[in-house]
Amino acid sequence: MSAEFIILAIITIVGLTTPILLAGIGELVVEKAGVLNLGVEGMMLMGAISGFAVTVMTFNPWVGILGAAAGGAAASMLFAVFVLQLNSNQVATGLALTIFGPGLSSLLGVGFTGRIVMPFGSLFPASLAKDPIWQLFFGYSPIVYFALIMVPLTAWFLKSTRAGLILRAVGENDLSAHSIGYSVRKVRYGAIAFGGAMAGIGGAYFSMVITPMWAEEMTAGRGWIALALVVFAGWRMGRLLIGAYFFGILMALELYAKAAGFSFLPSQFWAAMPYVMTVVALTFISARGTAGSNAPACLGKPFLPST
């Protein structure tokens, strides 16, 4: 195996990992606040079309990224109103968002099919990324660096800031947080909006960086992997990063297996690998009995104060 091949493989893995990492960071924060939003796939697609459309209209991918975050957050707010204000079932509402998101994004995307967008300029001087080795560090889209910075930043926010402490408290015991005097709903609105924005940026990575063009349902189920990733990570930010790259490698295997023409296993087998591994990992973790201990205690439960 040549060095070029390895470098190329790593760049592919980073590209495949970034969207699920972004969406996973967002979902981890949402779940830490005690809300299970299964609509990640829908929010990613809303982000993908919003980011793409805004970039087409403004010719500025940076504004486009803000549009993607806003699109994902807007979709998540729809979920939030149902779940927080009307106390609807979180699983059902999240699934509704998964169905609604692709539909609405397709509708919004009608005029944008076949268009292409301005790519991001490189963050670093082009000369830095010329050498293949340097390319490994400096050759990515700004979104990749953003995702990597958000990992320690979000971990620090959750662990060491007062706002993060309150967010975890709300997810751990909403009624207690309420009785101490924190606004459970406000905290959860904030967390859900953050989750939506991160999923939106993750989705925009497909439409603005990978392809870069708009196609219906282009996230292809990656939202589900992001959801599994959060459980896989045991709600820990460090493990989320490791898990995201683990899944990234599995997804890359599918591509390379196809390219290399491995015929002893059908390509569907490789495509199914991330999902199979999710099941295996979850079984392994729950068999050890440690998965539940770090899960937010109020995850998925409606907040029903007595007042």
């Binding site: 007062r162 402490l165 309150i166 975890r168 408290a169 751990e172 015991n173 009624l175 207690s176 947080a177 309420h178 009785s179 101490i180 005097g181 924190y182 009995g289 440690t290 539940g292 201990s293 770090n294 937010p296 205690a297 007042t307």
Partner: protein, 515 residues
């Protein structure tokens, strides 16, 4: 210091209405600086609602709250803490997966650096002799330690009024004494204390005055030192208190339920393993298992009821027959019934009718299922019988379980098992959160069942309940059961020490008293 003639807190005509209930009906009383004031009443009398309004969790519909003479509105708990009102909740408002320090930080309104907060906590703990490790995770702490977190959290705000909502319901007698020392010290420093409880001997021992609520209305404000426990109890329930009626000169029959070498491994990271538990219950005997919550009561209940069958088939026997590996259903067929602690969702299905709930445990013994088909009429008849015999307040067998109050549902569940005349009945927390009237009825029903020759096991954290109800008593601590002792000879300080286990606190000697 404020003028000591001005009440610290004064309530005038506080009224709060919930759909269908008047929770507080023109309640008025006042608390002086440095006074320990009891708020007394049965479950549902409106105590919790009242203090929630003082603490700003709810708003009154009518009436005024005065603080040091000034009329105020307490918009939210933050506003209450700003005024100097602290509260220790009955169901602790703690976050299990977080550290002591994080829990206390959440109760502070200003952001304080963790190191400064830790220093402050250590200072307060030193001042009041409260021991806590700031970096422990709450889920690993005992109930008494958890309560200390709440108290430290409240004390850090230098409160002028501390509200304690049923603080002793889960403490050992020694922990109760330690708590009283802290509360008396606080009161002597000028802090007013509003102490909610229905334990009358505690109120007599601790409080300067008592306000009694019944059905949301103020019944009386009295001086506990001149009242008797009985006179206060009668004001509380608005009638004569029924003592448990026992036939004199009872003799126990043969051994019915025997556990020998019963060991169960730990279930999950926060579970407790059972280690070599042994006891026997004879026909006609009521056997009590005391202990502080989380010492293996759940695992023991699961093993006895058959919800989690035991590996060692011979570890549990009923009338000599080994039943360790039998399921709950199979155990019911050999005459063993059980009532778990949690009414809603465990002992009863909340959105099932009472008749359907009767089928759940009575289907085989009461002939409600024939050839796989439910005999609905038999179920309705049986549920109706339970409702009648146990004076359950419900619209009929068709009423949903969730529509009943806690006490009435508990009476129904107990009645459902008792009328099946089991040879062995195992119950956990039979009167948890149940008002005194219903509790007395449940206790009497258990005594009557025992008198008919059944063997009964009562697992409870309420030591008073066990002492008045049981013939024999053992204490569970960290999954081990103490030798059984006859209740008539049991000394309360000895039981308290057993409850505290090897980590137990020092005996308090003369302060400890039988009730």
């Amino acid at each position: 210091m404020e003028d000591s003639l001005t009440p610290r807190l004064e309530l005038n005509g506080i009224t709060k209405r919930f759909p269908g209930v008047l929770a507080n009906d023109h309640v008025s009383f006042s608390v002086r600086p440095g006074e320990i004031h009891a708020l007394l009443g049965e479950n549902g009398a409106g105590k919790s609602t009242l203090v929630k309004m003082i603490y700003g969790i709810m708003q009154p519909d009518a009436g005024e709250i005065r603080w040091n003479g000034q009329r105020i509105t307490v918009a939210n708990p933050k506003a209450a803490r700003k005024l100097g009102i602290g509260m220790v909740f009955q169901h602790f408002s703690l976050f299990e997966a977080m550290t002591v320090l994080e829990n206390i930080a959440l109760g502070m309104d200003a952001s304080i650096a963790a190191r400064d907060l830790e220093a402050k906590i250590l200072a307060v703990m030193g001042q009041y002799g409260l021991k806590l490790e700031p970096h422990r995770i709450v889920s690993t702490l005992s109930v008494g330690e958890r309560q200390r977190i709440e108290i430290v959290r409240a004390l850090l705000l230098n409160p002028n009024l501390l509200i304690m909502d049923e603080p002793t319901s889960v403490l050992t007698p020694q922990e109760v004494e330690q708590l009283f020392v802290v509360l008396r010290q606080l009161a002597s420093e000028g802090c007013s204390i509003l102490y909610i409880s229905h334990k009358l001997h505690e109120i007599k021992a601790l409080c300067d005055s008592a306000t009694i609520l019944r059905g949301g209305k103020l019944v009386d404000t009295c001086d506990p030192s001149v009242e008797t426990s009985r006179s206060m109890a009668e004001k509380m329930i608005g009638g004569n208190l029924k003592e448990i009626q026992r036939k004199p000169g009872r003799v126990f029959g043969a051994e019915k339920l025997v556990a020998r070498g019963l060991s169960v491994p730990k279930d999950g990271p926060f579970g407790t393993a059972l280690r070599d538990i042994g006891f026997s219950v004879r026909a006609g005997e009521i056997f009590g298992i005391a202990g502080v919550a989380g010492n293996g009561q759940n695992a023991l209940m699961m093993a006895l009821s058959g919800e989690v069958p035991v590996q060692d088939h011979g570890a549990i026997t009923v009338s000599g027959a080994e039943i360790g590996r039998l399921s709950a259903k199979a155990r019911r067929l050999v005459g063993m019934a059980s009532v778990p602690e949690e009414r809603n969702g465990h002992a009863a299905v909340p959105d099932f009718s009472l008749a359907d709930n009767a089928i759940l445990t009575g289907r085989d013994r009461m002939g409600m299922v024939r050839g796989g088909m439910i005999n609905a009429q038999a179920a309705r008849t049986y549920a109706g019988e339970v409702i009648e015999v146990f004076a359950v307040k419900a619209t009929g067998p068709g009423a949903f379980a969730e529509s009943l109050s806690g006490g009435n549902l508990q009476k129904f569940i107990m009645g459902r098992e008792i009328l099946q005349k089991p040879d062995v009945l195992v119950v956990s927390q039979p009167t948890w959160g149940v008002d005194a009237g219903a509790a007395a009825a449940i206790h009497q029903a258990l005594v009557d069942l025992a008198a008919q020759g059944s063997a009964i096991v009562v697992i409870s954290q309420d030591l008073d309940e066990l002492l008045s109800l049981c013939d024999t008593l053992a204490v569970i601590n960290e999954g081990r059961l103490s030798p059984a002792m006859a209740v008539a000879d049991a000394r309360i300080e000895e039981i308290g020490l057993l409850m505290g286990g090897i980590h137990g606190s020092e005996p308090v000697g003369e302060n400890t008293h039988a009730h």
